[in-house]
Assembly symmetry: C2
Homo-oligomer: 187 residues x 2
Amino acid sequence: MRVLGVDPGLTRCGVGVVEGVAGRPLTMLGVGVVRTAADDDIGVRLVGIERGIEEWIDRFSPELVAVERVFSQHNVRTVMGTAQASAVAMLCASRRGIPVALHTPSEVKAAVTGSGRADKAQVGAMVTRILRLSAPPKPADAADALALAICHIWRAPAQNRLQQAVAQNRLQQAVAQHASAVKGRTR
Amino acid sequence: MRVLGVDPGLTRCGVGVVEGVAGRPLTMLGVGVVRTAADDDIGVRLVGIERGIEEWIDRFSPELVAVERVFSQHNVRTVMGTAQASAVAMLCASRRGIPVALHTPSEVKAAVTGSGRADKAQVGAMVTRILRLSAPPKPADAADALALAICHIWRAPAQNRLQQAVAQNRLQQAVAQHASAVKGRTR
């Protein structure tokens, strides 16, 4: 599976493409940063992010786009920009029918380092090792985008199993309800 | 001037078009709500908002899009959705080269009711009176979108004067700096 990871941000939006399946060595196909100028109007910056993401989707045709789930407990100004950039990334993917998955920062850190509280350096070091790169990708936003893609590929089988279990449970409940309704009628 | 006001939201995104200039009676050209289903994926919802906003821009060709400035002090979940919907509205406008203006909720309330702390009913009543409507637009998001457009039209002359003053001040400073630099060199 080929995943485009997006670490959303208005000034630096990290992007990274990883291909592979859980349990096998993963391959990095590309990594970079979409930048917009802090002194440009917000609308112009969002158009810049849109163009950048479109280019990455055009170039790598990912099967899925994994975006960092934004929380509001951090710095107020940063969070607004992050939410807006992530909206543009999700919009670009959904418009083309490409599925979007969201992962929290701690899910991503836990997936690649084993700890949900790992620092940037640790994430960078593990991304370098997992993808067999010669040096950690710079800036940190680029490494985080790759970590998101890796996290998605590794978590996907577990998530699929969970979804199947939930679906099966719903089906069993529906069958049970139907059976008891039939029983009620035939009494 | 023709302004499209957008009260951003994922479930209900208020839209309203007002035409006129400060000091003259204003006219409402259209009002409505772009809705998306709460149980749809976030990406699908953003695509729905994009389509809705595009339709309103196509239909009314506004010269400017006024969007509510989002703050993070409110409910965490709501704010994320609001920030994401506002990003899509700003993107749609900027992509077509239509200028975007942001106004805070208290600026909008103060502009139409005289108080930055007015409630929804008061805003609805004043929008009804200002635009000479037979009844307050429903839901409140639609009325808020019209209030945003009115606020922009009424504040625009003051904002233009302010921007001109700031620009003139910068120019004078630049001239003064240049003069003192020349004086320094010729000493």
